[in-house]
């Protein structure tokens, strides 16, 4: 006798893309169809995202409560991703690493536990030129679009209880006249409840003044910049150091081309720009002035996990030696040093 097996009841499987909340002035996003959220097993991937259009030289917060773990289960966040894009009216910009021109301020929970110490340039959250960052420049039929993505990948998953909101505010640093559409995405997976103790990421940054091409100049960070302001011992994953080079007129290109990138312009980054650094106020990390790129490498990081006591800063001193312009007109290059620390600490959310 043939036994007919009954089919198992259908079960919702696969990932659930989270809400994509877009500020009213942002272009209409791709909006996946809502799916059941409570039937997903632990481990199922999630993504929460929100976006805002940030006016040139202005600030823009994502709408209140738009970025939240809306699930009934906790999640652990593995990556915080950013996608930045602007569309120019014509091809008058080129090679713009938008993350150097846009900063973000993030906090989590109703009590506003900070993930960033004030505003942090977005490219100071991601290693340079590696798998965590990509740049695109595409030509569309109407506008010239520059598009950059960055990934902040803390060493510890970031536990987020149900209904926990995030507060995100972007800041356009104003070097280009175009508005930037900024998207933040939290990616991770569902997990089993384990109390409210979380490894909350933390970033603090220092951006130097803009060094002109010709003259010798110095700069130093204040104690309030690269500081562990969490009130707890900070587990530092890495220090990042990048050199942003800005050129309002790209050589060989039509006038008004703007360039901003951490292209390793040798005169600034290899020879002319040197750095000395200490932990706390006098513990040497880099004792003598050393070329910036030798300290951070071409991928822009000191990948040495360690701890930093509460209220302790890293102190940065920068020297830029005088340069003689070569025959080719490069007098207009300016450079800024970006140094950041990335880590995490235990917080009860």
């Amino acid at each position: 006798m043939t036994k007919i097996l009954s089919r198992s009841p259908a079960r919702v499987v696969g990932s659930t893309l989270g809400k994509r909340i877009i500020a009213s002035s942002a272009p209409a996003p791709f909006r996946p169809a809502p799916r059941t959220t409570t039937a997903e097993p632990p481990g199922a991937p999630i993504l929460f995202s929100a976006a805002a259009v940030v006016p040139s030289a202005g600030e823009q917060a994502i709408p209140s409560k738009s970025l939240v773990n809306y699930l009934d289960v906790p999640v652990e966040i593995h990556e915080i991703r950013f996608a930045l894009r602007f569309e120019s009216e014509s091809s008058d910009v080129a090679q713009i690493d938008v993350g150097g021109l846009t900063a973000v301020q993030i906090s989590v929970g109703n009590a506003g536990v900070p993930l960033t110490h004030g505003y942090v340039p977005i490219w100071s959250l991601a290693k340079a030129k590696r798998e965590s960052e990509t740049l695109y420049r595409t030509w569309l039929s109407v506008a010239d679009t520059t598009f950059s993505t960055y990934t902040w990948r803390p060493s510890q998953p970031f536990y987020v209880p149900p209904k926990t909101p995030f507060t995100v505010q972007f800041k356009h640093l104003g070097l280009i006249k175009y508005d930037v559409t900024a998207t933040i995405a939290l990616t991770g997976r569902r997990c089993a409840p384990r109390g409210r103790l979380s490894s909350v990421p933390y970033a603090a940054a220092f951006t130097s003044k803009a060094f002109a091409f010709a003259g010798a100049e110095t700069d130093s960070s204040p104690e309030t910049a690269l500081v562990n302001a969490t009130g707890k011992t900070l587990n530092v994953d890495r220090l990042l150091g990048r050199v942003g080079v800005y050129h309002p007129d790209e050589p060989g290109a039509p006038p008004l081309k703007a360039v901003f990138r951490d292209f390793d312009e040798p005169m600034f980054s290899r020879d002319a720009l040197t750095i000395r650094m200490s932990a706390g106020r006098n513990r040497p990390v880099v004792r003598d002035f050393t070329p910036f790129r030798a300290v951070f490498g071409n991928d822009g990081q000191i990948d040495v996990p360690h701890t930093l006591d509460r209220d302790e800063p890293y102190m940065i001193e920068l020297r830029k030696s005088a340069l003689t312009a070569p025959a080719t007109a490069f007098e207009y290059w300016q450079a800024q040093a970006y140094v950041s620390l990335l880590g995490w600490r235990e917080v009860t959310l």
Partner: protein, 304 residues
């Protein structure tokens, strides 16, 4: 005590002078009370005015030796470029005042060797060694300006004397460079003593890397299907004895796109050796001016 610490020394290499420049050990010394766990080594180059040859491949023009106190890290002088396969470091970068007509290029390159096993630099110990332009540099435009080379060791302080009296991993690399224009011969075998374990204890081998250099194009991945190679394993029953069963294999099967051959960490016993043979290098005539090959590993040493 686990805070980062960075040691660095800067040197200049002058075209036409092939005398090794001794590393500034004073700048590469642990002058602190706590031992330092060294996690990576960086060697960066900068040329203010270079011919195309150097601009794209300065790392191929420099040999270096390195030691940790009395313990050698390199087997004599090794070509800089091959040690740091692209997988483990940043690509060579060029830029700045590029002006092809004048062939004057400001060039910067960065190489990073992130150690498979971090090792201890005890208080009072230092790195020693030297940098030198290798003879390949004779092909370079004499108007090239000096190469500025920065050697940087990145690590962190570690506490206590847990290392004292205990064997610690010390990196080891041995490398070979072919003669110029290897395509003039039908096969090239590496010397028998280049990829041998010269120590009285087991050598842990992590990987092999290979890279070729051409004068006007810089480093080139030589995992070309046109060139074959054969690896002979240790003769007395080591892990690689039957590797490839003695048959030549196209390089592309040996090395991935990052020029690295991962054979799995394994032990090379004292006096055991690998021998490589490159076949048909003539396939690379006109594109590759010399080939390099390196074996990278570590062995235990008692420091201090």
């Amino acid at each position: 005590v686990n805070e980062p610490i960075i040691l660095s020394a800067q040197h200049s290499l002058t075209p036409g002078n092939y005398t090794p420049v001794v590393l500034d050990s004073g700048r590469l010394a642990n002058t602190y009370r706590d031992p330092i766990e060294i996690r990576e080594l960086r060697i960066s180059t900068y040329v203010a005015h270079a011919a195309n040859d150097v601009a794209y491949g300065a790392a191929g023009m420099i040999d270096f030796t390195l030691s940790l106190g009395r313990h050698p890290i390199t087997n004599g002088a090794v070509p800089l470029g091959v040690v740091f396969s692209p997988f483990y470091n940043e690509p060579v970068e060029t830029g700045g005042t590029a002006d092809p007509a004048a062939t004057k290029i400001a060039s910067a390159s960065g190489q990073r060797w992130r150690f498979d096993s971090p090792f201890i630099l005890p208080p009072g110990a230092s790195f020693g060694g030297a940098l030198a332009l290798n003879p390949v540099y004779t092909i370079i435009d004499a108007t090239v300006s000096a190469l500025h080379v920065t050697v940087t060791a990145v690590g962190r302080f570690v506490s206590g004397a847990t290392w004292a009296g205990r064997p610690q991993p010390v990196p080891y690399l041995s490398a070979w460079r072919s003669a110029l224009n290897p395509g003039a011969v039908t096969s090239i075998a590496t010397p028998q003593n280049t990829f041998s374990n010269v120590f009285a204890r087991d050598l842990r081998v992590h990987r092999f890397t290979t890279i070729g250099y051409i004068r006007s194009g810089g480093p080139q991945i030589v995992a070309s299907p046109q060139i074959a190679a054969m690896l002979r394993g240790p003769s007395d029953g080591g892990a690689m004895q039957d590797y490839l069963q003695g048959n030549p294999l196209e390089l592309a099967y040996f090395f991935d796109h990052n020029c690295a051959l991962f054979v799995g960490r394994h032990m090379l016993r004292p006096r055991q050796a690998y021998e490589w043979t490159f076949f048909n290098p003539s396939a690379a005539v006109g594109t590759t001016d010399f080939l390099t090959l390196a074996m990278i590993g570590d062995r235990p040493e008692v420091l201090g």
